[in-house]
Amino acid sequence: MAAVRSLKPLAGGIALALMAVIAGGALLSLAVEALHGSMDGLGAFDSYLWRVARFTLLQALLSMLLSVALAIPLAHALHAHPVFAGRAMILRFFALPLALPALVAVLGITSIYGRNGLLAAIFRGAGLDVIPNIYGLTGILLAHVFFNLPLATRLILSGLDSIPEDYWKLSSQLGMGGWSRFRLLEWPVIRRNLAGIASLIFMLCITSFTIVLTLGGGPRATTLEVAIYQSLHFDFDIARAVALTLLQLGLTIAVLLFLSRAGRPSEEAFSLHTARRRFDHPSRREKFFHAMVIIAGLLFVILPMAGTVMSGLAADLSRLLGERIVWKAILTSMILGAGAAALSLGISLALVTAREYLATKRRHAPPGIFERLLDLGASLIMVVPPIVIGAGWFILSRHYVDPFSLAPIMVISVNAAMAVPFAFRILRPSWDTAASRHNRLCAQLGVAGWSRLRLIDWPVLKRPLGVAFAFAMALSLGDLGTIALFGNNTIQTLPYLLLQRMGSYRTDDAAGLALVLGLLCLALMMVADRGASRLENGR
């Protein structure tokens, strides 16, 4: 048994090394290349750059705080009502923003809050002489919350779902009020996962590019990601690009360390049965409040998407769907996305199990550096810009293979790596809870290895695995960065096609393709949910 278990840290180590190679290899090869060239760019750490760094941090921190702060009441309300018509659909919709290319989301948001949007039309209708102006920090935060509030809500909710049924029973018997229940039952669980969720959102926002420039209103709103792109793309100043990437990594690590200290998980052993059933009955006032929160959250997420759907429906969908190239792009996207999701799940599972193994072994001692790396280190890949990874690997591989033949492998592995932080956060709560519940029992009964995986772990894991797969795949479906870099006509994904149409006046086509992309993700979420429930009922 010991021999079987000791493979976990090894697998975790390999997964971590893989992530490090993908990001670190690119950075290293760029750094070596930079040594051959001019280093002038390094001297340019001027006031412009400090302003950029300051703004980058400010917008990312604010976006993170807002997203998380708004997600807590939303997740709380959704959890308080585990059964109502449309709940499952809401949760599926909440997975969609992630898969939308930034440009599509920006246009969706302006169709609601823009100068010619729904809000402006309502103001006009009411005879008010107000034109909403979101360009600036407002627009950036609006877009970032649109992207991340649903994500945060889903992640917090999955944490809440791991609260044992008996806790609710007990709280009901003790006659706890809503507030005490939140404080004593929900908050500890939320808090435990909050650092991880907040750090994920922070990393998504710190690397924001299209949203920040397009909705930022001018060059005052510039992120480091823009500066990295500028130095690598327009100035071809590799040294500066590497230095800026390291600065971005440094800032992120500082914030992640702070977050992980602030939100140090409380160690609790769950040994009871969990279920999505509650025994408390919210008062009428609470019910009203919850309904309001859910409706507001839903509207916030769905309106910009509805804007996208409306423009999508205006497109000539039947012609679009009659195009061979569109179907080819859908197929390519699906294959790449499924490959990336599978790889991502493998890596994440290795990380999650290894971390839990180490955490269980050390018991109450503080976590070691390896465990911390398993926990957060792998996420750092998110803040290495795709253009840096692409250029680095291009340089590294150009003497050995045809870089174009490498494109599919790169797209799959980079997308997989980028999805790991998500899959990790979806899998970890379930795995940790299940492990602490089963470890001792399994040890007592001598259940280990394959039989434990089949009988004990698989039933608990299949649902989160399905959700994580769907999330990772949706994320990869919407990705564009890596493919654009390797530049190859033979691999055309759906977002690639979308931006290509957008870039040549075919705005309607682009809207239609955005609709197709959204429907594809929705279908994916439904299949994942169905598959998971069928598996559950099948037993």
Partner: protein, 338 residues
Amino acid sequence: MRLLKTFMNSAILMSALALVSAAPAKADGKLTIYTYESFTAEWGPGPKVKQAFESQCNCTVEFVAVADGVALLNRLKLEGASTKADVVLGLDTNLTHEASETGLFAPHGIDTSGITIPGGYSDNTFVPYDYGYFAVIYDSETVKNPPASLKDLVEADPKQKIVIEDPRTSTPGLGLLLWVKSVYGDKAGEAWGKLKDRVLTVTPGWSEAYGLFTKGEAPMVLSYTTSPAYHLVAEKTERYKAAAFAEGHYLQVEVAAQTTNGATNPLSAQFLSFMTKPAFQDTIPESNWMFPAAKTSAALDPAFDTLVKPAKTLIFAPEEVAKNRKAWIDEWLSAMSL
């Protein structure tokens, strides 16, 4: 174990993917052309150009497409002397100086007398294949008095907004920067300081700007004089128009050249020469939406006659752009960030 399985799964998927992507056919000769994506898009000039050239060269044309002209030059710099490109198509005159400094390009050695570019163009390495002018496009339904000059644009009512592109990340953005510089010279910073209030937002690329414009977020956008031709020909609408500026319009010339490697392939020069012929030039107006650099076999669609004809052509020498680009962008940055 699980990892291994996933790897195997992805290997299977990968081979499935190889089936999806097309395999290039074999022929006697092969010409590899690096270009930008919109050139090879199915509605772009690429497919027609490939067909037309292949029918007369007994060879296979292989396009390799990257995002844009700037990425094209970067790709070449990254590949250096070992590049597979015979011909690079899609640099613009703002990049040619930097491109020749790499030493990766060879003189074309072809007859370019058929080429006419406003203001003239002669270079023994780079061959122009099309050109266009930057212009402010406005929505005639909301803008009744479009600006008649750059001065108008800078000084009129700041409530009427324009979306522009960022010179740090996009070619049209750099175009506007050079346009303002060529009109205002040393006073460009002040002009930007005034124009700033009129700028609704600065987008990373043309797509975002034009998307916001057609959504009605702003009544004006920086694009090309040829943009209305697309709306006229493809959408049959006269709604979007280009504003003619009294000071003249800034010119963008797109060029191609053979690499030093490509110079050993006779097909390269043959292609550059083909580029100046009607068979190539015919594809340009209605698929690249630019003006052809040489004769086409028939007159252009009447829509092109309705477009703004610039009173004056403005353009900086490539060396001047290369030398000053950073300083001018810094000037723009500090004026726009106030």
